[in-house]
Amino acid sequence: MAKGLDVGTMNIICAEKGKGDSISFAQQRNAFLEMEAGDLAQNMLNSAKILYTQKGDIINVLGEDAFKFSNVFNKPIRRPMKQGIISPDEKESIPMIKLIIERVLGQPEKDGEIAYISVPASPVDSNVNVLYHSKTVEALAQRLGYQTNLIDEGLAVVFSELGDFNFTGIGISVGAGMTNITVAYLATPIVSFSIARGGDWIDEQVSSATGVANERITAIKESDFSLDSEYEIGSVQGALALYYDALITYLIANLKKKLLEVAPPDAEFPIAIAGGSSRAKGFLEMFEKRISEANLPINISKVKKNKYTTSDSKDPIYSIARGCLIASLTREEAEVVEENGEEKTEKAKKAATA
């Protein structure tokens, strides 16, 4: 069974076909928290069914629980990825990502099972090279026995959200570390790039502007913030709205710049937005407003809305993994058709010789 894997700065999500007409998502936060080891701590973690690893006298709590413990113990969480790629500042990044990938992806049902893995496109505003990250993540999945393929995050969004438009349009993934953009025409990317700004950049800017801790900003952003509302001057929410607007404006400016470098076909291009940082209420409305003012060199037909509900597969956070799964299943079907065709030809040849 083919699988799709989204390796994001904040979440690692695996999508696979469920029973009947359904998709099964496995999700883990791409984060860990270091704690001191001890019998009491270990017993507590075991009884609470918390994921952790032990190395000497250090315990690393993995995933979502790392965030909870971070608030309880007031300790900063550690992130294996930074700005969309494996963090060079974090010495435990690769073992931690490996553990999380093994956990969410699981073992393949058969050897050579197809898995599409999302990777960021090269950023236009940073010297960061994505190749090392891409190949490392691919190797981690390959050692589990998967036949891996890499796919741009933006293209995965196009596959997931723009099927009704023949996979023509703009796929934008606003993640925590990066924002990935792909302009595709009939499932073929015309422009693909990323910008080294995302949800984390907003948090950092708001934190340095207001003096509130980064983790607190993230919590406010995820629970008590809407871009539609009006906030007092000096409030965290006001600063968040300001930096969201700055991110959208920056994204559109870079998209316009990139589109001017190519000659896109004369077609209608809808926009699909995905990624955890696009979950903020009013994000799409603000984006729609800014894009209508931008005067892009292509025809934007609409901004496709993803109504967020936790039980909906169209949750923007699952879009990328879903797009990867679509690519995997398509490749798997193509291979089956190819194999059947070859078998038929061989049979015909044998019959002819007989």
Partner: protein, 261 residues
């Protein structure tokens, strides 16, 4: 064969026109032609020169002229042009010097000029047509579409589209080989024993079929470029089918004949 004969005939006419013109110039030098020269010397010189130029242009026309359908009017234009210019020369020879006054001079000039213009214009148009035809013949020869079957063309299109799909998503062919190292991390009880939580959501993923159709080129788009390419491809396939049909019918005929014998 017919065109080759026409070409050689044209080159001979061109050569005779050249000889006539050179003889006219030679004659003029020999007799030291002046305004006050004997009228017979003037008639001979200009008659030869005028006829020579007409023959040169007729020769060029014969060499570059096209076959039907382009050549249908071209031949008439060529004949009319040549006759008109020769008529002009003849008229000049008959009228000079006694009747060489207005309006006869205008008639002669008009007849000769019209003939020369028609011949040179026709030669130019034919040369352009020939260039275009040669280019298209070259393309048809280098295209060598006839050696592929319809199935081959369809497969090639699908393969190209599939390649573009995989090229767009490939980054580097290099694979990092990771050694099976012994990890220092001891997984906790839950990590070892519990299963990963999963969220199951209803989704038919019909995009898989759509994507398969898109990458195999089975999708309708309102794009002039794609429509044009499709039409060209369809025309090539049709042409190919006709060739195959012909070869099939010729095979049948041969078989039938051999059976009759």
């Amino acid at each position: 064969m017919e065109s080759k004969l026409r070409y050689y005939f044209g080159s001979m006419v061109f050569l005779s026109g050249l000889i006539l013109s050179i003889s006219a110039i030679g004659f003029a030098i020999m007799v030291n032609l002046k305004r006050t020269s004997d009228p017979s010397e003037i008639i001979t010189t200009y008659g030869l020169l005028g006829a020579g130029l007409s023959f040169i242009l007729l020769g060029i026309n014969l060499m570059v002229s096209q076959r039907r359908p382009y050549g249908l009017y071209s031949n008439w234009v060529m004949i009319f042009g040549f006759l008109s210019s020769i008529f002009g020369v003849t008229l000049f020879a008959s009228l000079y010097p006694g009747g060489w006054a207005y309006p006869n001079v205008s008639y002669v000039s008009f007849a000769y000029a019209a003939g020369i213009c028609l011949l040179s214009g026709n030669a130019f148009a034919n040369a352009v047509l020939k260039l275009i035809e040669e280019r298209s013949t070259q393309l048809a020869e280098t295209g060598s579409v006839n050696q592929y079957s319809i199935e081959d063309i369809e497969k090639e299109v699908e393969k190209t589209l599939n390649r573009s799909f995989s090229d767009a998503t490939s980054f580097s062919k290099f694979n990092l080989g990771i050694k099976e190292e012994k990890s220092d991390f001891v997984p906790g009880k839950t990590l070892k024993e519990s299963k990963q939580d999963r969220i199951e959501v209803k989704d038919s993923i019909r995009e898989v079929e759509c994507l398969q159709n898109t990458i195999s080129g089975k999708v309708k788009v309102d794009d002039y470029g794609i429509d044009l390419t499709t039409k060209m491809l369809s025309a090539t396939m049709k042409q190919n089918a006709e060739v195959q049909d012909k070869s099939l019918s010729s095979k049948l005929k041969t078989k039938l004949n051999s059976m009759r014998r």
